[in-house]
Structures are given as C-alpha cells and as structure tokens.
Symmetry: C2
Subunit: 466 residues, 2 copies
C-alpha cells in the first residue's frame, strides 16, 4: 500500500529527477587528475546538499584526498549502509566523444532514451537511483525509509587511497547489517542480478630506465640498450601460449568453480559471441581452457592498460628513449593475495631486466576478491523485490569489474554487500560516449524503493541482537 504510492511518486517525478542528474553530471569530478580537484570537491558538496534536502544531516568528511559524504536517516528497521561514488573516469580519447563528456543530454539511441555523459552509468546515474527512491519515500511518507547510512566516496576511480583509513577510523558509525552498493549491471536486458562474488584488483606501473637521456638511434642504436625493447620483452612474457599468467605463484588461492554455481551459470545462457560482437570482436581470447563467462566472473587476469615510451606523436623521431613505462592491472579471485602477487611480479620483472636497465614500480592499489554469504535473509528479500519490478527473475551472479569496497566492508566492517545495479553492457563505462538508459534510471529507482521496503520490514540481526 505505502510502497505503491512511493512507486507512483517515482513515476510522476521522473523528469525532475533526470534534471537533477544532469546537474550532477555537469561537474567534471575526475578524481585521478589533480587538475579537477576543485570540481571533484564540488561534486561532493552537491551530493551533501541533495542529502540535506531529504532531511538528513549530511557532512563532507575530510580525508587526505577527496572528501567522503556521510549522512544518516536514523529510524526503525534493519540498519543498512548505502555506498556509491561521485568521482568519474578520465575522458580521453576526447576526440571520440560525439558531445562534450560533461555536457550531458538525453538522446535517442536505437529507439531507447539514454542519458549521455561521463558518469551517467559509472556511478552518478546509478547512485542517484537510490537517492531518488529515498526522495519519493520522503515525499509520500514525510520521512526516509528504514535506517539508512549513506557513504559516498570520491576516489573510487583512482584506487580509493583514503577509504581503508576512513573505514577503520569510523568503524562503529559505519558497521551495519548489510551494505547496498549500486555500481554494477543487469545480467541481461530485462534480467537483474545481485552480484555475490567480486574480483579483486591490483594495479602496478613499471618504469624501465636506461640511458641518462634520450639518445639518437643512429649514433647509439644497437649498442645502447633500449628500454622500450626491454619492456616489450618483459610484457610479452606475462602470459603463456594458453593464456595463463606466468608470474610464479599467481594461481595460489584460485578456487575451482563449485559445481552448483557452474550449473547455474551455464543455465544463464550467456552468449559469448554476442558479447564480443557488440564490440567488434569474434573470438574469445584469454585462457584457452575456460569459458568466457567463467573467465570474466571467476578467473584472475593480467592486462596491460597503458604503455608509453619514446616519440609517439605525429611524424617520426629517431630517438632511443631514456625510459619506457606500462600500467598493468591484475584481477584477482578467491584467496589470491594481492601483496604476494605484487612482490612476485616485481621479482619476475627484475629477473628479466637486461644489463644497464633499472626499474621503478608505482603502486596503484590492491584489493582482494570477495564472496558474499547469501544466507542472510536480506539477499532473498532483495532478490524477490527485484523480481517483482523486472520482467525476469533476478539471479545471483558474478562480476568482472572490481569493486574493492565490498572486500573492505567484509574485512573492516564485518558486513557483506548486496551489489545491485542497472547498467547495461553497452553503457561504455570508462570509454567515450558513456550512457545510462533512462529505463535503467527509472526502474532502478523503483527497484530500490521495493528493496528498502522489503529489508526494512524484515528482521534485524546482529546489530540489534548483540
């Protein structure tokens, strides 16, 4: 009864809700680039004001980097924490955007209305589905639902350096029964999922240095060692011919996929050809003895995300450069230890360095994988609520992308997370022309209203019992 009024309100308020999201998307909160520090803070302040307009007492909480936004509704029901991030990825290559990344608009795409702009899907549009569900609830009932704590981070796209210290320093305030995270996708077009296993992420940067300055390749070529050559020889050995990562000990702690999950996943009818053809590819790469879905959800990977060295601009320059560098990320699963892998990787690189080459490493974050315990009744309550909103039943699924926050919530706050999101495979997150379907935004807000209703009506567990 009360829920249906909230859902009606969400429907009626869709256009103003989209206007609010547009204002948020216009703020270029690129956390990894110091040039955007002011804008990133502005995005935090915008969110704080939104939460205050809902009647919460919201605050910017300082860190050594970008601030956290924290707010509490108080109230009855199981205490839950909702997490999202207000920062976004860089926008390059900028020339491939068909409109300014921070000049968002509603556009038609293949007959559907989409919200175009950096952060539309990752994560501003998604986190606003939750905020809009709360707003509708407050409009109908005069108060916010359940007992919700909001935590919005501004460093998710740059390795979350402040997050762990912040969670550790505010353990009491932030530990709840369960966390809700909106930063993932639908399993398929009209089929939502709750992610229950997440890969970890390890980021490394390798800088190979040789001569004390750039040299002329005619005067020094051959005789002077070339750091690009050294780097390519190292990177070329990261994978063997079967697609396995060659770092010693890399597969320590990688579990076999449990048979029941394998069966469930096979039943999902994932179409690897369609998945790849959507981005112009035809043939699954990677481990030759694993299915595509198994690789994305449950296998570790090593990918080179960037490389630079010498002259790569217009024309040609016969330079033998002083250094070359690459950024490499590892997706981790099961009990893989990010720190052990980092050490083993660095040792392997050192062992492959030719004479006269030195190496520097830069640490770009490390988070282990995590697997949720779905026996908490909140999981089934949420799955049922989602199944009521969408045409197809919601499934427990894996996720390829890493959302380290879920691991930190387990380790530091002792709570599992329900990762529920409404993104689609063609949202182009981290890429030019990122978008979020208006249908995802609308149904997303309705989904959260249903989930909040289901959870807050449920039993409270540890936090009220001990």
């Amino acid at each position: 009864m009360s829920l249906s009024a909230v859902l009606d309100r969400i429907d009626a308020d869709l256009d103003p809700a989209l206007d609010r999201l547009m204002a948020f998307l216009r703020i270029p909160s690129i956390s990894t680039d110091p040039a955007y520090d002011g804008d990133t803070r502005r995005a935090a302040a915008w969110l704080r004001d939104e939460l205050e307009s809902l009647g919460c007492s919201a605050e910017l909480r300082e860190t050594t980097g970008h601030p956290m936004v924290v707010a509490h509704t108080g109230g009855e029901g199981r205490p839950v924490l909702f997490y999202g991030h207000y920062d976004v990825q860089p926008v390059d290559p900028i020339e491939l955007w068909h409109r300014g990344p921070f000049d968002p608009a509603i556009e038609d795409q293949d007959g559907a209305r989409v919200i175009r702009g950096r952060g539309a899907a990752d994560d501003k549009g998604q986190l606003m589905t939750f905020v809009e569900a709360c707003r509708a609830w407050k409009a109908v009932h005069g108060s916010l639902p359940g007992n919700v704590t909001f935590l919005f981070e501004g460093e998710e796209e740059s390795g979350s350096p402040s997050l762990v210290p912040f969670l550790e320093a505010n353990r009491e305030e932030l530990s709840k029964d369960v966390a809700l995270i909106c930063d993932t996708g639908l399993f398929a077009r009209d089929k939502p999922g709750i992610v229950t296993q997440l890969r970890g992420l390890l980021g490394e940067e390798v800088v190979v240095k040789a001569a004390s300055k750039d040299l002329h390749s005619g005067s020094f070529g051959g005789v002077a060692t070339n750091p690009i050559k050294a780097l390519t020889k190292i990177l070329a050995q990261l994978h063997d011919d079967t697609g396995r990562v060659t770092i010693p000990g890399f597969y320590d702690g990688v579990p076999d996929l449990p048979e029941d999950l394998r069966t469930q996943w096979e039943g999902l009818g994932f179409d690897a050809s369609a998945f790849l053809s959507g981005v112009g590819l035809t043939t699954p790469a990677g481990e030759t003895d694993r299915t595509a879905l198994e690789q994305i959800w449950s296998r570790p990977t090593a990918e080179i995300n960037g490389i630079r060295g010498g002259y790569a601009g217009q024309g040609f320059k016969t330079v033998l450069p002083a250094e070359a560098a690459a950024k490499i990320s590892f997706r981790l699963v099961g009990q893989q230890d990010p720190h052990a892998i980092r050490e083993s990787f660095r040792k392997m690189v050192h062992a492959m360095l030719p004479a006269d080459c030195k190496v520097e490493f830069h640490d770009h974050g490390a988070s282990p994988a995590s697997v949720m315990n779905t026996s908490d009744p909140a999981f089934e309550a949420a799955r049922t609520a989602l199944s009521q909103e969408w045409p197809n039943e919601a499934a427990y699924i894996g996720a390829g992308g890493s959302i380290p926050i879920a691991g930190y919530f387990q380790e530091i706050l002792g709570m599992d997370s329900m990762l529920i999101g409404f993104g689609r495979d063609d949202d182009q997150i981290h890429s030019p022309n990122e978008k979020y379907d208006v249908a995802s935004f609308h149904r997303g807000a309705r989904s959260w209203a249903r989930i909040l209703d289901a959870i807050s009506n449920g039993q409270s567990s540890s936090h009220t019992q001990t």
Copy 2:
C-alpha cells in the same frame, strides 16, 4: 696567402657570426609538426636572405612540403654542391630542457663555451660554418670561392619526402663534381673525419587494432583481445637472444667488413666504455659477436623509437584499449633493400597477429646505405686541409646516423659526397639541451675555408672534361 687573410677574417668576425646563428636558432622550424609550418618557412626565407647578402641569387623553390633554398655562386674551379638542412627535431620531453629550446644562448659547459638550443648542432650551427666561411671569403676577396651551388632542405628531420622529386626535376642544375655535406661529427675531440660510408634508414609505424572502442578491463579483460599485448608480443620477437634481427631476409646484402677497414678502425682506439658511460650506460647491447664501433658504423639495426597504447597519464585507468602503436626504424648497410625489408617485416607482423587483431602500417621513409669512392682527389685534398686545421690528422670514418641525401646524390645526381662535420658525441642532438661547441663552430668555418681553397685550386673532372 689569400687563405690566411680569410682565416683571419673568420677569427675577427666570430662574435657577429654567433649573433647570426642565434637569430637562426630562434626560429622553431620543426618540420615534422604541421603546427610549425609557418616557422619552418620563415627559416628558409632567413637562409635565402643570408645567401643574397653574400651576393648570390638565392631562391625559395616550392615543393609539396617545405621549400628548398637554392643558390649559385658561379665562378671558376671545380663545381661543388653544398647541402645542409634548416629544419630541426621536435623538442619533447620539453621539461628536461634547462632553457627554452628556441631561446638560444652561449653557455659555459665544463669550461668550454657552447651554443645551447634546438638545432645548434643539427644542423643550423653546422651549415652556418660553411656560410660563414663563404662570407669571410667574400669580405676578403670581393667574391665567393670556387663554383658553389647551395642546396638547403627543410624536411630532413621528417623523412625528406620532397627531396627525390626535387633532385629528379633539377638534375642538370644540381649535378656537380662532388657534394659537401655538413651534418656529421668529429671522430674525436680534436680529430676530424670524412664519412665515407653511411647507413640507410627505413621507418615503419605499426598500429594494432582490436575492439571497436576502448573497453573496461574488468568487464572484458582476458576474453577480449588486448592490442597492447599483441603489439608487445610482436615487438619482443624482433631480436633473438644474440641481438640479431629476426625478420626473414633482413641480412641479405649485408657485407663483411673489409679487412683493411677493420684494421684502420681498430687503430682508431674507439673506447666503447667511455662512449657508453657518457650516457650513463656500461654494457654494449646489440649483436653479441660484434664490436660496438662495428655495430654503429657497419651493421644494420632495428630500434623501437616510440610506443603508445591505452592510458599512460597520471594515475590509473582500467581500460582495455581499442588500439596500440609503435614506431620502428631500421638502419641499413651495404646492399640491403629497404623495400624488401619493409615487405618482409609487414609479412612477419601479419603472421604474428592473434585472432581479432588487425594491423595498419604507415610508411615513414626508406633510403639505402651508401659507400663513397675516395679515389676522387677532392677526398685527399679535403683530408689534408682538415689535418692542417686540427691538432690531429683527419680520418676516413663511418657514421651510425643515416643521411639519406648522400645515397640520393649518388643515385640521382651521379656524384659522391664528402660528409664533413664538427659535432661532438655530447651534443645531444635529437635530445633535450642540444648544444654545439663554439670551438666546433669557429674551427668548422676555418676548415671549410681551407677545403674550398684546396678543392677550387684542384683539377676539375667530369664536368669540364665532357
């Protein structure tokens, strides 16, 4: 008698000559970058005006790229052609320059006076040694020496695309007894050389393309092919463990070093350790069974001059990029065929491409190696003249850098070249903080006065006899 007055005049005129060079160095004539097209043309016009001030009728001659500057002195003596280039290399990495690359100055360096700025040594400072020798001659004698044609190019640092058509179209006008080229270095600090063998140069750019757009490495990593990985695996196979280039047929046409030249070169006392330690290195790389000097002067090489792909800026981006690219140059010797090697290289790359990767190649020029016939008496005349100016006897030497013009002069104009220059190994050409010693500039001008005197007093050969 007349020569000594010219030499005195060069000594007396050194400061004004340096001022003229500074004006030339202030023009940022980076030929490879279209943003500097106007400046590159301005450098050509500046040179034309200089030659006209010497009483030549000088012209800018249009090409499809940057113009040629051509002038003739007319007069008696053997007809010779002097060649130099007025364009310069790009300046990146700009942050490593301790002053603006186009804000030249005379500085003290280790007790010596040096001219600092892009182009100081390559090639503006060097070509001006010849112009200043002519200026002194004219001041003393009222006319220019011998029978000189000047040819200045503006595309030497960007593959000389207009040069061959220009030589072919002006064969009659430009064919002389011998060419003089000032774009090389001293053999050692006080020991000049005449380069009599030059390596060729082949420039290739490889662009590996995979997905239709940049992807998220969490959602697609492993399963979607990574073009950086494909490219590094290809580049890592360019050389085998002994430093040899693996392209099929690459060593076809590479001659053994003649025993007499090997003996001469061994007598030069080249110190590979000192050569490398000057740039912070200790150990000769490249072919394990060749000496350093042999590699630089007489062996072919393959070097990766630049590489790019994905995100290489500040911070980290978990992108799986749509493409990756590298620029590769090959130094060629003897009868190696640049076109055959290009085809073989491309075939090899195609054969190594994984599924779903496509490749594009960009041609960045091709020139064969060349070896001069030193039996023309001009060679010994010049060697004697150089030996009179410098503390040590001049030697016939090789050169690691490629100066394709010498090959074109042989092929198209039927004349050999004497490559005589006054650069030093620490001039940092193509690198930040390029410099040219004032002593090189000064003694260089005096050397050309002596050489012009020696050649113009000598016998004219083919051009007056047929």
